[in-house]
């Protein structure tokens, strides 16, 4: 919904509350079966109150350690338990830092895949430093992470 214009939100109101579309020339078209509609937003802007009122709301935060580990293990084939654990823990530590863009789950997965392809079994300071740019997308963030976690200035 983030990219959608404000007017479209108003249009959606009728669709979502009555499950129908009014077309001036043709009349009203009703849904024969009630659809399940999922609206997703990255919270880059606030959606209108009226739209929110017609929806159930679920805020999905970063997963906790166990869940992230499980996600990594499920989505990255060939990853060892230890590596998945280490990945999840490092990512969690990174998120506690004050970063411009904290690593998302998909970036965690990218990173884990990279580590598997490179054949890195355990993450040492050197390995982390060389692959950090997959996890973090701002130079200031990378520098800060290196300073905080790896003591490289």
């Amino acid at each position: 919904m983030d990219r959608v214009e404000l007017e479209t939100e108003a249009l959606l109101l009728e669709v979502l509350s009555e499950y129908q579309v009014s077309i001036p020339e043709l009349g009203t078209v009703r849904a024969t079966r009630l659809p399940m509609v999922f609206l997703t937003s990255n919270n880059t802007r606030e959606l209108s109150e009226a739209l929110k009122r017609r929806c159930l709301y679920l805020h999905i935060d970063y997963p906790d350690l166990d869940r992230e580990r499980a996600i990594v293990r499920a989505r990255v084939p060939g990853i060892t338990e230890e590596l998945a654990d280490q990945v999840a823990r490092i990512v969690r530590s990174l998120r506690t830092l004050d970063l411009r863009k904290a690593p998302s789950v998909s970036e965690t997965l990218d990173w884990a895949r990279t580590l598997v392809i490179l054949g890195i079994e355990t993450i040492g300071a050197a390995g982390a430093r060389d692959t950090l740019h997959i996890l973090l997308k701002y130079q200031v963030d990378i520098e800060r992470a290196q300073k905080e976690l790896l003591s490289v200035s």
Binding site: E46, R53, L56, Y57, R89, S93, E148, L150
Partner: protein, 479 residues
């Protein structure tokens, strides 16, 4: 249950959450589908139906914890032997024994050392059941709760945690880890850092357990509604910027960004939807061909989208320090949405700070640089609106054109200097709009050395902006 739900909804509304009638109905519908003993299920069902913004989550959670606190009798610590499967074997019997002591003696049986030891073990093994038990014991022992006092429990929490010395516990945990590692290969910095974060997360879990425990007891003592009143905190958009604590400010900055985008979208729409442009002669003639050359339907040009130029002039003197920081963040957010924003800061001198915001990734950096480098002190570093505005007029006045909007931010506390209102009047003649945003409550205006009234006569509008909600309202009404 329905009564409880309506009480809960009422409480949410009192806390400032916009809960509509339909949402209440949705919630009532939803709890019909949830088994009532599933507390988490209930919580998320209510959250999904009643709370529509992630920034309201914390207020909801507080209210939920109070209203649906675990009112069941003390979950016996005796059960711990069975629950604590994850315990190291040597701890098991010992704890069971002590637990029974707690059950009967109300925690007095545990010496502080024993309590600390148990806390240490529970943190080491991340055993939730044991952690909760320790939290109960600690509250028994240290909180010193007095029945009937109308408090929110923050003080009890503080007292309990101070006695437990969590920092020392953390240090001890780390030391143990280092000792273990010393026998092997030793710890890299990375591993140490990760372990520290792990323990910190566990301590945070424990802190929450203590908080829940205290809250549960307060509910038992005084009832949900009374307690809800004491623990209610303002929502991020209702926080008074002038008196915000550091955490509240951090919260504000988080919600500021999506808000500024929303505002920018709204302003952009206002710009697009404006009046029609001048007659488009060519298109009118072209259209008239179908009516035999009679121009029945005139066509108009789309107006050229005016690029508004925004001048932000902010007071950053001590009296509005936290407001100034907030406004600087706001200026940053605005300038990332609009191409032409020029920002100025003043105390008794004035300086342009647009350059500090250019290409900066972190607004905090820009704010720090402004505080250090901007040349805003003229004589004594007490705000002098008259001089600062005259300076502005002398140096940049000619750059203010009919396309510019001026935003003046400050409390107009002039320290009894001359006001120089003619400057504002002259700027209004040149500019499209002049707005003054004042972070002080309206009834403080024009008291003491505040001269906002004198300037107000020359502004298009003077508004009180103490909270994000008021800011949103102001920009929403902009034309």
């Amino acid at each position: 249950m329905l009564d409880l739900l309506s009480d809960f909804v009422t409480e949410l509304r009192r806390a400032g959450l916009p809960v509509s009638m339909t949402e209440h109905l949705d919630a009532a519908e939803a709890i019909g589908h949830i088994p009532l003993e599933d507390r988490d299920g209930l919580k998320y069902a209510l959250a999904a139906t009643l709370v529509k913004s992630s920034s309201h989550w914390r207020a909801f959670e507080t209210a939920f914890e109070v209203f649906f606190a675990l009112r069941t009798a003390h979950r016996g610590i005796e059960g711990l032997g069975e629950d604590g499967d994850g315990l190291p074997p040597e701890g098991d019997g010992e704890l069971g024994g002590r637990g029974r002591g707690h059950g009967s003696g109300g925690g007095e049986a545990m010496t502080p050392e024993e309590l600390a030891e148990m806390l240490f073990k529970s943190l080491l093994s991340a055993d939730a059941a044991l952690m909760n038990a320790v939290a109960r014991g600690a509250v028994d022992r240290y909180a010193g709760m007095e029945p009937g006092r109308p408090v929110g429990g923050t003080y009890y929490l503080y007292r309990t945690l101070r006695n437990l010395e969590l920092d020392a516990v953390l240090a001890r945990l780390m030391e143990q880890l280092r000792d273990q590692a010393a026998t092997g290969v030793g710890l890299t910095e990375l591993e140490e850092r990760l372990a520290a974060d792990e323990y910190k997360a566990r301590i945070e879990t424990f802190r929450r357990a203590v908080e829940t425990e205290i809250r549960r007891r307060l509910v038992e003592d005084r009832g949900a509604e009374a307690l809800a009143r004491s623990v209610r905190k303002p929502l991020p958009e209702d926080i008074d910027v002038m008196h915000a604590t550091r955490e509240e400010l951090a919260e504000l900055h988080r919600v500021l960004h999506p808000l500024s985008r929303k505002l920018a979208v709204r302003l952009a729409r206002k710009r697009r939807d404006g009046r029609k442009g001048p007659l488009d002669f060519r298109a009118t003639m072209r259209r008239s061909l179908s009516t035999g050359g009679v121009p029945i339907e005139p066509r108009f040009r789309h107006p050229r989208p005016a690029k508004p130029e925004i001048f932000v002039i902010a007071d950053i003197s001590g009296s509005v320090a936290s407001f100034a920081r907030f406004t600087l963040h706001l200026v940053y957010a605005i300038s990332s949405q609009f191409s032409k924003v020029r920002s100025f800061v003043f105390v008794d001198g004035i300086d342009e700070v647009t350059r500090f915001f250019e290409g900066v990734v972190d607004p905090a950096d820009a704010v720090a640089r402004i505080n250090q480098e901007a040349d805003v002190i003229w004589v004594d570093g007490h705000s002098d609106y008259g001089h600062a505005l005259t300076e502005f007029h002398r140096r940049w006045g000619t750059e203010v054109t009919a396309r510019s909007s001026l935003l003046l931010l400050g409390d107009a506390r002039n320290n009894y200097h001359a006001t120089q209102t003619w400057v504002v009047e002259d700027l209004r003649q040149r500019a499209r709009h002049v707005y003054w945003l004042n972070p002080e409550p309206r009834h403080y205006w024009d008291s003491g050395d505040s001269v906002v009234g004198e300037y107000a006569a020359h502004c298009d509008e003077v508004v009180e902006v103490r909270t994000l909600r008021q800011l949103e309202h102001f920009v929403g009404n902009l034309t």
